[in-house]
């Protein structure tokens, strides 16, 4: 595991009028490490993800990606730095095929993205990147299916595949297991574990079995603040966490 965090935040805060959704949060993400963020609904986890991906600007605080402050930058600029984000509510291109979803994602990185007179299929490297991403996510055999016709679990896989097609360094996964059955979940957990080896991963999840199966570090958020952060077993054993969250039979 790398020593320096690839992304860290300082006093990250986001307010919506009178409501403080994220308050003075300090988190760091390292290459080769899966850092899980858990907490009850409304704890601010999705808001945190939105702040890191640029979908929301922070009210105050800093977000340092490779030591450069990216707070408030536009989502497309943050994405190009090597940050990939999957959404809690499936956010794919429903009318396109599975392959086209990933090909388009891969295209975002192509220097020749603005060529206007050559057929898109000619750029074989994009298709190859897309196919590789689909292979990794386990969707290779569904490449020609229209995305809208996939099962819910397959759509969640496509969510991840699209991120992977952009060759990110850092992955922000927002509840990738949401709504999945047992077999699909197991497969997704394996995928996340594999990804953790050569990416920095921030994983938001409610599925505790999955979290404790893959996470190398754990942060618990409650009411927008970090309650506890550290090695998973230590956090689990912490009395504060037990009473606030885990101890209530969650």
């Amino acid at each position: 595991m790398a020593a320096e965090p690839i992304l860290r935040t300082e006093a990250l805060t986001r307010r919506f009028g009178g409501l403080t959704a994220v308050n003075d949060v300090r988190i760091d993400l390292r290459m080769g490490e899966i850092h899980a963020v858990i907490g009850p609904n409304g704890a601010g986890k999705s808001t945190l993800t939105n702040l890191l991906s640029g979908d929301l600007p922070p009210t105050s605080g800093r977000i340092l990606f490779r030591d450069r402050d990216i707070a408030g930058r536009a989502p497309h600029r943050i994405s190009r730095l090597g940050v990939g984000r999957s959404y809690q509510k499936t956010n794919i291109f429903k009318p396109f095929t599975v392959l086209e979803n990933c090909r388009l994602a891969a295209q975002s990185r192509a220097p020749h993205a603005l060529r206007i007179l050559s057929r898109a299929e000619r750029f074989r490297d994009l298709a190859r990147n897309a196919e590789a991403a689909l292979e990794l996510a386990g969707l290779a055999q569904r490449a020609d299916e229209i995305a809208a016709n996939l099962s819910h679990g397959e759509q969640r896989q496509l969510e991840i595949a699209m991120c992977l097609a952009t060759a990110p360094t850092l992955l922000l996964l927002d509840e990738p297991l949401a709504g999945m059955g047992a077999t699909e979940s197991a497969r997704m957990v394996e995928l996340i574990r594999a990804l953790g080896r050569d990416h920095a991963v921030m994983l938001i999840e409610h599925d505790m079995d999955a979290v404790f199966a893959v996470a190398q570090r754990l942060t618990v958020m409650v009411n927008g603040e970090v309650l506890e952060s550290g090695m998973p077993e230590a956090v689990r054993a912490s009395p504060a966490v037990q009473s606030a969250y885990l101890g209530h039979g969650e």
């Binding site: 994405s79 794919i92 020749h112 603005l114 898109a120």
Partner: protein
């Protein structure tokens, strides 16, 4: 297979159009020339509406700016040069599109519709109320531009048959260009923006720039049609920039079937021919005076019962495809 069949249909249609001057009378020749210019107008709007998902109600601004550019650049009693005035007209449109687009594209939805309308209305008033445009009387183009190469006239644009050929060639060229554009990576990105712009941004696409590029291209292409119309009628006046004109071309696109380029061409033919048919007193007698009523009813029926416009009549039920169409 579907591609091959539609290519054949397209080639057949182009052949029919190319041969039409042999059979048609002067009146119909002029009519079809006008329709083909409108088809270019409609295709350029389809790029915005059908592919990028940007509904503009101010597209007539480009039509008018191009026409006025030709009128203003034409010397009073001599012929202007097509090779300089046509690019100039397109460039004027592209500039207008670049400047207004940079502002207009910050809005979306109905707001976008209204701001495009606003800028078109402002252009209308510039030509209507200031010295630039010659006021509500408009400007006449007394001598048609000439199309020369190395001193020899390529096409005599004052001759109806040859002008018809030029318009047909340009319409075909615009169609092929747009088809190529839409199959390219740029075109796919536009389709992605229409399907889910937020996701495109989070994948790393600077969607604003793509939309602006589409807007400028659409504006420049619309300029071609405005130029040709001004050339054909030898006259421009502020009404060509009116919202009625913007509305009519939008109707053509929707009627023909959005998001299919050939739909725009079909829509242009359908709307103009429909008007000609319904207003034909020889066929409908007194009732022909009220053609607007019949036209309106037909449009209402198409809107209710033909969800994919006229182009959807011949096609299979849509499922979705590799390129999002």
């Amino acid at each position: 297979m579907n591609r091959r069949r539609s290519d054949i249909a397209l080639a057949a249609a182009l052949l029919a159009l190319a041969l039409f001057p042999l059979a048609g009378s002067t009146f119909y020749l002029q009519l079809v020339t006008k329709i083909m210019a409108m088809a270019i107008f409609a295709m350029s709007l389809d790029l915005l509406v059908g592919y990028t998902g940007l509904v503009s109600l101010g597209h007539a601004a480009f039509f008018g700016i191009a026409g006025y550019t030709l009128a203003l650049l034409s010397p009073q009693y001599e012929a202007a040069n097509l090779w300089t005035t046509l690019p100039a007209a397109m460039a004027a449109c592209a500039m207008f599109a670049l400047v207004t687009g940079a502002l207009v594209l910050r809005t979306s939805g109905i707001y976008f519709i209204m701001v495009t309308l606003a800028f078109a209305q402002m252009a209308y008033f510039v030509f209507h109320d200031t010295a630039l445009g010659g006021g509500s009387d408009g400007i006449y183009i007394y001598v048609k531009p000439e199309m020369k190469l190395a001193g020899r006239t390529l096409l005599d644009l004052g001759d109806l048959g040859q002008f018809y050929d030029l318009v047909l060639i340009l319409m075909t060229a615009v169609y092929l260009f747009l088809r190529r554009l839409l199959g390219s990576p740029f075109g796919r990105a536009l389709a992605g923006i229409r399907a889910n712009e937020q996701r495109m941004r989070s994948l790393g696409f600077p969607t604003f720039r793509y939309k602006l590029a589409a807007y400028v291209i659409a504006g420049a292409l619309a300029g071609i049609s405005g130029y040709l119309a001004a050339l054909q009628f030898g006259f421009v006046n502020p009404e060509i920039l009116s919202w009625h004109n913007s509305g009519i071309v939008l109707m053509m696109v929707i009627l023909g079937g959005m998001g299919t380029l050939h739909g725009a061409i079909i829509g242009a033919f359908a709307l103009v021919l429909l008007q000609e048919v319904l207003a034909n007193q020889a066929w409908f007698g007194e009732a022909a005076k009220h053609w607007q009523l019949a036209m309106g009813v037909l449009i209402v029926l198409v809107a209710l019962f033909l969800p994919r416009g006229l182009a959807g009549l011949g096609a299979r039920p849509r499922k979705g495809s590799a390129d999002g169409r």
